[in-house]
């Protein structure tokens, strides 16, 4: 038999190696699943991981799309990771994402059809404000009334979705849309459009913001006293209090930052790739970002890579679906495996496996 022995410190080697091991294990288990579905496992894995990046037919389109898909995930996950490190659980990024989009789009639509240079910057501010505002509800309820921020932030997602439906059908509905739900298409309104900055690269302002957030978070956590407080609050709450960290202030700050970043992601999405406020605008980025945050070990660089990997499985998964006729449920199961293996092999970071033949336990 074997036993687990806790490492005195997390293994540096396994911290880096486990994500790679998890991807390899996912490929093996996923390959077995695809084979059981009667598909060529090698072709399926290649279509998911290789074709979006290097296939001559698709790569020139899907490589930029990788950034488009990963941008909002990274931006939201960076914000969430700060709170998660401090033991502050904002599960409602999806709602903050929606509210950011609504606030930002409303500002843009208010100016339609005028052309001013300041419209998009103003929308960016409004988007961040919308997300921040929505995040302040669970934050203030927690600091004032000690409510559970996990529940409140999660339930506010559903409130935000209802507001989104109401906006798509009412206040923000396209007056020239023949009574159909959905706002005007912002990506077709030049002053408000968040378009590709360089054609064919997929880089829009949201992707730029995501990269900036990665750098800022890295610097904050490594070099700034606030980053130290965040880490301390998560690892040793009592010690943090002795060190003069004000827990309520930290809750407000972490919720504020993650809400504002989620709101920004929503704004960049509604003004760019999605184009309009519609009933189905919310596509689950806020929830997927939680996975990305943990996949990336709550580390800014890790989140960057995790976001890109997640985007790759989405885009490659879509390709595999219609090129090989795989059911979409199989792709979702495949993505689930990735997370499962990642969390499972995480054990190796904190524990050592010892083979204990014939030795009596101490």
């Amino acid at each position: 038999m074997f036993t687990l022995e806790k490492r005195p410190n997390p293994s540096r080697f396994w911290t880096v190696a486990t994500p790679v091991l998890a991807v390899v294990l996912t490929m093996i288990a996923g390959g077995i699943m695809f084979a059981m579905l009667g598909k060529d496992p090698v072709a399926a894995i290649r279509t998911i991981f290789w074709d979006p990046l290097f296939d001559p037919q698709f790569a020139s389109y899907s490589r930029p799309q990788l950034l488009v898909k990963a941008g909002p995930l990274i931006l939201i996950a960076i914000g969430l990771s700060l709170g998660f490190r401090a033991g502050i659980w904002n599960i409602g990024a999806e709602g903050q994402y929606i509210m950011g989009a609504i606030f930002g789009a409303a500002v843009g639509l208010a100016f339609y059809p005028d052309e001013h240079w300041f419209i998009l910057p103003l929308m960016v501010l409004a988007g961040a404000f919308g997300g921040w505002l929505w995040a302040m509800i669970p934050a203030i309820l927690r600091t004032r009334f000690r409510t559970n921020e996990i529940l409140v932030s999660l339930l506010l997602v559903y409130v935000a979705q209802s507001i989104l439906s109401s906006m798509a059908l009412g206040a923000l509905r396209n007056p020239e849309g023949g009574g159909f739900p959905g706002s005007r298409n912002l990506s077709q309104y030049p002053a408000a459009a968040n378009l590709e900055l360089v054609a064919g690269t997929g880089m829009h302002w949201g992707v730029v913001a995501a990269f900036m957030a990665v750098i800022a978070a890295y610097v904050l956590l490594q070099r700034h006293i606030l980053g130290f407080h965040i880490r301390l609050a998560g690892q040793a709450p009592r010690a943090a209090r002795f060190a003069g960290v004000n827990p309520d202030r930290l809750v407000l700050l972490c919720f504020g930052v993650s809400g504002a970043l989620a709101g920004l992601a929503g704004l960049f999405e509604v003004a760019g790739p999605a184009g309009q406020i519609s009933i189905d605008f919310a596509s689950g980025y806020g929830f997927t970002a939680i996975i990305v945050a943990f996949l990336g070990r709550l580390n800014p660089i890790g989140i960057l890579l995790a976001g890109l990997l997640m985007a790759l499985t989405y885009i490659g998964g879509e390709l595999a679906q219609f090129m090989l006729g795989l059911p979409s449920a199989a792709i979702q199961a495949f993505q689930g495996m990735l997370l499962f293996f990642l969390l499972a092999v995480d054990l190796l970071t904190n524990y050592r496996i010892r083979w204990a033949f014939g030795r009596a336990a101490g």
Binding site: F180, P181, I279, D280, S283, L319, Q321, G325
Partner: protein, 361 residues
């Protein structure tokens, strides 16, 4: 203002030009691609589109390669899926949900040689975008007739999805048909704000039954309302999108079945023989796109009355919206004998006179 109206007329001109030159060369093999918003076994909307796609593959055999992608979210993801399909060599792409509208038009601009067909939308911004829909309101008139004759409490329930013209049109058609055979019939609408959510739909059905509603129509896709109705004897309802035959003979007494196969077979056939042109199709009972499921569990005279409505619509002698009809606020809409123009129906945002309640804004 001047500039905008100029652009509109330029666009209209472009459209006219493209319609005139829309024919293509014959093709030996067509790759037909389908994009679905739900899973192919959803028991409703997507399942029926997939049945149509399967019929295309069966009809043309080797001459057609059919591929599909299910569960595609509306918005940015749809645009990517459509682009990847065009890149993979699809000749014709069917985008089968209203929410794919802007994405379809955006991708069509980039691939002028790929034909795009968008279900239930109204935007044809490029010469290679066609739209198609079915006159489901015709089916509503048939089941509305059954509802009006069968209700004892004179309370007909309607589980509505979203307040868009398509749905409002159905409520009005059903109410007008019911009122014609039963002047005391009332319509009780619940807005579910979903196309498919079994729990919400079941709740809506339950609430209606508690309020004394004994006939329930649904513009949502799940069978959950049926399961709810089956618990209380005497409550009847109608299948939506599919036949929902599991609930025969009651509570399901008939159904409105979406049948996209004739349209899909026709369009892909036109690609093969080179007669394909841009179009805007809106067929109903007569064209086979809307089918009425077998009428079960009702007295023979009710069945006969409903079939008479169905056959009258198919023959073109009966239009579900024939004047005199007033709007809910009492203002005149259609004069005596006048039938509703398609444009009025496609933009319908009002209840007809006699329906209580407001359309949510």
């Amino acid at each position: 203002m001047h500039r905008r109206s100029l652009l509109t007329s330029a666009a209209a001109f472009g459209l006219g030009l493209s319609l005139a030159t829309g024919a293509f060369a014959q093709m030996d093999k067509v790759k037909a691609c389908f994009v679905y918003v739900g899973p192919i076994n959803d028991g409703g909307w997507t399942q029926q589109h997939h049945a149509g796609a399967t019929a295309v593959a069966e009809t043309y055999g080797d001459k057609v390669e059919m591929v599909y992608q299910e569960n595609v979210p509306e918005g940015a993801d749809a645009e990517r899926v459509l682009t990847q399909m065009a890149l993979s060599g699809c000749n014709i792409v069917f985008a089968t949900s209203f929410g794919f509208m802007d994405a379809t038009n955006a991708v069509a601009a980039k691939f002028p040689n790929v034909m795009f067909e968008h279900a239930t939308g109204y935007k044809r911004e490029h010469p290679n975008v066609s739209t198609y829909n079915a006159r489901f309101y015709e089916g509503r008139a048939v089941i509305g007739t059954i509802a009006g004759l069968m209700t004892k409490s004179n309370k007909i329930g309607y589980i509505a999805s979203f307040p868009i013209p398509e749905v409002i049109m159905g409520i009005n058609a059903a109410y007008l048909a019911a009122k014609k055979v039963n002047p005391d019939a009332t319509m009780n609408v619940i807005w579910a704000y979903t196309w498919y959510d079994p729990a919400k739909e079941a709740d809506a059905a339950k609430a209606m039954i508690e309020q004394g509603v004994d006939v329930i129509m649904q513009h949502t896709d799940s069978t959950a309302p049926m399961a709810e109705m089956a618990k209380t004897p005497g409550i009847i309802g109608f299948g939506q999108a599919t036949d929902m035959a599991d609930y025969k003979p009651t509570p399901r007494v008939s159904s409105i079945i979406d049948n996209w196969a004739p349209y899909y077979i026709k369009r892909v056939g036109e690609m093969l023989d080179g007669t394909y042109t841009q179009g805007d199709a809106w067929e109903g009972i007569a064209g086979g796109e809307v089918q009425i499921g077998e009428i079960t569990g009702v007295p023979d005279d009710v069945k006969a009355a409903a079939e008479a409505v169905r056959d009258g619509i198919a023959a073109g002698t009966l239009h579900p919206f024939t004047g005199p009809i007033n709007k809910q606020d009492g203002s005149a809409w259609l004069a005596e004998g006048q039938t509703a123009p398609d444009g009025d129906l496609l933009g319908m945002n009002f209840y007809v006179e006699g329906i209580a309640g407001d359309i949510p804004k």
